[in-house]
């Protein structure tokens, strides 16, 4: 019980450390990676069950009372995110067994992967702003290495942009953090929320809102919102597929999570200003992302730009700022993480078969691998929001929330964008699966042995099944999201859980 909250951080740290100590044996590292991810998923499920049953859980690390020590907090949003991390973590860990080269494994792929998961979980669970910075750095550092590992030219160019821009974001984050500590003398988010809650005088409130914008920029870079997303399309298509799949699913969502967290807990003094701004950014993010995707001619680049566009949906719910809308955001994040990782994994299979992801060099896969084609359709159509898949309900809840508030512009944009998403998913389908393979690009397919095939296919099929399942049982999941949204809209329970914990 006392380990409930730290466990999702401890498990990957232990797994990463164990893999590091076992650096000589690739086989042991592979087992550690899969077992560690599985255990992480189990701890995530335990966490969400506990939080669902008993409300927001908090743990004072080191037994120091809040706000003096560091508090880990899990509300439904955090618990959901941790569970999703477990799901994607396990799926990609298994998939990576088939696709990661021995060279990558020898220099530490599995260790880095576990540390990445550790950082992600830490960011989701911490209740302390500076601690959040630390977890961000853990996650970023691991992602830097994973991204750059391989040393090809494209990877290097992508990595330099990714690293530089993310460090810029960290610098902004750190500065905002320092200023915030100077103002309020504390770093515990619940404590900060408490101090901000009883009506600040104008100058102080204005300064807090200024800091809010700084945090928005810092987290916005990490979440890849407009106009701060450049690093993403420059880099996400360059590393090995297993790496970009986990990046695509999880990393930007940590930024989104951070934005949602601080703009529902800390910076709620002037929602008319801040949240309207977020709504505008959401619309711009959706549009620019999807338009970027339209121009792309490579499988993973199309997918990368779609991440941006969907980040727009996720913060649209925050911009609308009602329980229903936040529930929509949470539902959307849930759906997106599963679907987007899966699409990247599918792209990896395509790359494995064809040796390339350039659309003009692909083709003929519907004829030769109808099973893969059908599995591609599930996440692809879900991404476009076709019923009754998960994406439909994600979109529906946001559209319903927007319409019930009379926010017609953003709703229209979101619907238009979903049409364009459909367009570009079907473009992928046309080019990869329907079109005949052009003769001049026909190359000898690399043989895939059955074991490897199964290892790649199992996670893809599993995630596709999950996508369908979410669609068919949207009701209980949305109910959960709605309760999460209500928790976010009323921070008092969060504050109470942190500040009045017996220990």
């Amino acid at each position: 019980m006392n380990l409930l909250l730290p466990l999702p951080i401890i498990i990957p740290m232990l797994a990463g450390t164990a893999a590091l100590l076992a650096y000589r044996s690739r086989m042991i590292q592979r087992w550690i990676s899969v077992i560690g991810s599985g255990a992480l998923l189990a701890s995530g499920i335990w966490l969400i069950v506990e939080v669902e049953r008993n409300g927001i859980r908090a743990a004072q690390i080191g037994n120091w009372p809040a706000p003096y020590g560091i508090t880990l907090v899990a509300d439904l949003l955090s618990a959901t995110m941790v569970t999703l991390t477990g799901i994607i973590g396990l799926a990609v860990a298994v998939y990576a067994l088939a696709t990661t080269s021995a060279a990558h494994e020898t220099v530490g792929h599995h260790q880095l992967y576990q540390f990445l998961l550790m950082g992600v979980c830490g960011a989701f669970l911490t209740g302390d702003l500076f601690n959040l910075y630390v977890w961000f750095e853990v996650m970023l550092m691991a992602s830097f290495v994973l991204l750059a590992l391989g040393g090809e030219r494209g990877q290097m160019e992508g990595a330099i942009k990714y690293v530089t821009i993310n460090l810029m974001a960290s610098a902004i984050f750190l500065a905002a953090l320092g200023l915030l500590y100077g103002l309020a003398g504390t770093l515990n988010m619940a404590d900060l929320a408490n101090k901000f809650s009883n009506g600040l005088p104008e100058e102080q409130a204005g300064l807090v809102t200024t800091l809010a914008i700084m945090f928005l920029v810092a987290f916005g870079i990490k979440a890849a919102i407009f106009p701060l997303f450049f690093w993403l399309p420059a880099s996400y298509h360059t590393p090995p597929v297993a790496v970009s799949a986990v990046f695509a699913g999880l990393l930007t969502k940590v930024g989104v999570y951070a934005i949602i967290r601080v703009f529902t807990l800390l910076f709620i003094q002037e929602p008319g200003y801040t949240h309207t701004l977020i709504l505008i950014l959401a619309g711009a993010t959706m549009l620019t992302g999807v338009l970027g995707a339209v121009t792309q001619k490579e499988f993973r680049r199309v997918l990368s730009f779609h991440i941006i566009s969907q980040i727009g949906y996720m913060i649209m719910g925050l911009g609308l700022y009602t329980p229903l809308a936040l529930a929509g955001s949470i539902f959307y994040i849930t759906h997106h993480i599963i679907v987007k990782s899966n699409l990247f994994l599918v792209s990896g299979v395509v790359q494995r078969l064809k040796g390339t992801l350039e659309l003009k060099k692909l083709g003929g896969l519907y004829q030769s691998l109808p099973g893969l084609a059908m599995i591609f359709l599930v996440p692809a159509l879900s991404l476009a929001g076709l019923p009754p898949l998960s994406g439909f309900f994600a979109k529906l809840s946001l559209v319903q929330a927007g319409l019930s508030q009379g926010q017609y512009v953003i709703v229209s944009i979101s619907l238009l964008v979903s049409l364009l998403t459909l367009f570009s998913m079907m473009k992928l389908w046309n080019e990869t699966f329907w079109k005949d393979q052009a003769k001049e690009y026909e190359n000898a397919q690399q043989p895939v042995n059955p074991g490897e095939w199964r290892t790649m296919f199992a996670p893809i099929a599993g995630l596709a099944a999950l996508t369908i399942l979410i669609g068919l049982s949207a009701s209980p999941l949305f109910e959960l999201a709605l309760r999460a949204g209500e928790q976010l809209m009323d921070p008092t329970a969060y504050i109470r859980a942190v500040m009045e914990m017996p220990r």
Binding site: M156, A159, V163, T164, L174, G182
Partner: protein, 115 residues
């Protein structure tokens, strides 16, 4: 002194940003270094400056009696320094590796992965 340090911080940020905007990869790294100094100094300054009295309790005492520097921001900065050291070391290795595989350190030549 806060006022003066505020300008020092501004100067460090400006210098760091300027260096990051250069086309040379190496200058970019120097810019990053300047930026992290600026951020650390910012935390330190905003959290009130107190001259000379470090937050170390004298042997046999239970607490600090004299006015003293705030220990918490010091701990934060220490963490930040260490993290930025790790980042810098990695960035150096990355720069080396990038230079080897791209063949130049001109950042404007490194745009093959966009567009």
């Amino acid at each position: 002194m806060e006022t003066i340090l505020a300008f020092v911080i501004g100067a460090l940020y400006a210098a760091g940003i300027y260096m990051m905007l250069r086309r040379s990869l190496v200058k970019l790294l120097i810019g990053l270094g300047l930026l992290s100094h600026a951020a650390n100094l910012l935390i330190f300054t905003v959290a009130k400056l107190v001259r000379a009295n470090s937050p170390v309790i004298a042997a046999g005492e239970q607490t600090l009696s004299t006015p003293h520097a705030d220990p918490l921001p010091q701990a934060l900065i220490l963490t930040a320094i260490v993290i930025s050291f790790g980042v810098t070391a990695f960035a150096l290795a990355l720069a080396y590796r990038a230079y080897k595989s791209v063949g130049t350190d001109d950042l404007n030549e490194m745009k093959g992965t966009d567009v």
